[in-house]
Symmetry: C2
DNA sequence: TTAATGTCTTTTATCGTGAAAAAACATTTT
DNA sequence: AAAATGTTTTTTCACGATAAAAGACATTAA
């Protein structure tokens, strides 16, 4: 079992959804581009679709024979990357308590527990280390630094520096820049969300990420843009596990976003700065209140 | 050849240097702490030293019998980590021209060329990716983003943000903080270097790194501290390969450092800001002039 | 003669394996 | 009994091997 075929399975599932829309599928290279996979994978997909009677396939002709049935799909969990599986397991352990700062992380144990090879775990930990939550001891174990108040403060400090700068850069962008239409579109989505906030409040986190990424991109600085990955990761898990007053919090945040968007559109740097600061302050507050500070810092 | 014993060889060499100073070696745990290795490695070292007649070893008694001879040492190149070897090879390729932005990086080819396994190369590339010079295409190759003018500008932009903030934090540190003695010591080293600048100018780069790391540490922010790794890496290779007016450049920089140190000691935020800005500006200039901008950016 | 399909080759992702190094446990010495 | 040494176990590091996926080349259809 040296490599799972999750790329194929995931692409297959997405391809099934395309079947509803058309009577026949496009050329192999086109399908590949559409699904983001190579022709090799496309051909495996087509081969299986032919086998299961979904399509008739003869060279260029790929005619849809029937609508896909629920059990034509591969199970969702088989479409995940190993990296996703490892990340989830790791974060579950990390957030499920008992993960004290200073605790050591054992690659072999993690690998056995998750049921994967050590190499994948090692690679995951190396990638994960840039989030600042773990640290490597040369030739030895990893050390958990813990999801502490200090971490949240350090994270938000950088976030605020970067976002204030990005927001200023955004507001200074020429009127004909395509970002303004992106912003309009996001504003619309925000207004729609406000309207149905009672039922759709949980859609906020995804919108939040897209909004902030748009702003950060205006910095034209890869380090700023990349840093948003750290924020996104933390907020992603934070949203999943801190459900207290979720609706209220999100409603407030959407309001702040709208004010922020107004400020950006005014292109008045003072207003932008104020709106940005206000939103980031409440975002920080939300994050901080969700961290149970049950330990004293070990250094004075 | 599944794992080289470079840890042992490097520690052995360092242990040989200890032999000059004492007539007998300390306990195994103490030696381990001193050399930064485990007792297992210490015991291998002692075993070999006994074998080669350097010491007489009987339980606690580890008497030095003779001074180490040059060829008691393992060759320097056998003491490097695989990661160091790979980094050097990779950077050589990257700086040796012909490394156009957009070029793709092949793990297998790199591994074959350097003569190591693919896993080590993969892990190196993952670690290296945080420097912002390469990027991974999912399920496919890495792409070289190139050591371009844009890269240098993005890097220095962040550096300046971080260092201005750290310097301000530094100046605000209480008088009894140990950093002030560290600063005094560094100031001394700078003064000594100024005196002998004609011959010792090449020692600047190491001093430079220690100085800036001291300042960044005052931020008490892991993201700021960690970012200095990116700067240090770039400047490390930059110093190695841009030798034009090295003496003059370093002389100027030492002077700027001294002014910067004075400003910090004055604890006058205005002066600190000015001195920091001035030095960072010239550091940026130095970096920029060393980048041959022979390509037009591909996007308008 | 361009763009697709068919076929073959190369590279990436992942595992199991084994030596180096660390860590844990047991025993002795002071 | 505290701290060293001696011994055993566990973990990390690095490799080669193999299936999945990508990519390159050859062939055929429009």
């Amino acid at each position: 079992m040296s490599k799972s075929n999750n790329v194929y399975k995931d692409a297959y599932n997405r391809c099934l959804r395309l079947l509803d829309e058309t009577r026949s599928l496009p050329s192999e290279p086109e399908l590949g581009a559409l699904l983001g996979v190579s022709r090799t994978t496309v051909r495996s997909i087509l081969a299986r679709m032919e086998e299961t009677g979904l399509i008739a396939w003869n060279k260029r002709a790929k005619t849809v024979l029937r609508d896909p049935h629920p059990d034509d799909f591969f199970p969702e969990e088989e479409t995940d990357t190993l990296a996703e599986i490892i990340e989830r397991s790791f974060m579950r352990r990390l957030l499920a308590g008992g993960a004290e700062a200073g605790m050591q992380i054992n690659e072999l144990e993690l690998a056995r527990e998750i049921g994967v090879g050590t190499t994948s775990v090692r690679e995951f930990l190396i990638r994960f280390s840039r989030f600042g939550l773990i640290e490597k001891r040369r030739n030895s174990h990893w050390v958990l630094k813990g999801f502490t108040r200090a971490f949240a403060l350090e994270l938000t400090e950088i976030r605020e520096m970067f976002e204030l700068r990005s927001a200023a850069a955004f507001a200074a962008l020429p009127q004909d820049s395509p970002v303004w239409t992106d912003l309009d579109r996001l504003e619309d989505e925000h207004r729609q969300l406000v309207r149905d906030i009672a039922t759709r409040f949980n859609e906020f986190s995804e919108l939040d990420e897209r909004f902030h990424r748009l702003i950060h991109r205006a910095s034209h600085n890869r380090f700023i843009v990349d840093f948003y990955d750290v924020i996104a990761m933390i907020f992603h898990y934070h949203y999943q596990w801190n459900k207290a007053q979720e609706r209220e919090r999100n409603e407030v945040a959407v309001g702040e976003h709208l004010a922020y968007i107004e400020a950006l559109k005014s292109r008045d740097l003072g207003k932008v700065d104020a709106a940005c600061r206000k939103h980031l302050k409440s975002a920080r507050q939300t994050l901080l209140t969700s961290i149970p500070e049950n330990r004293q810092p070990s250094r004075a």
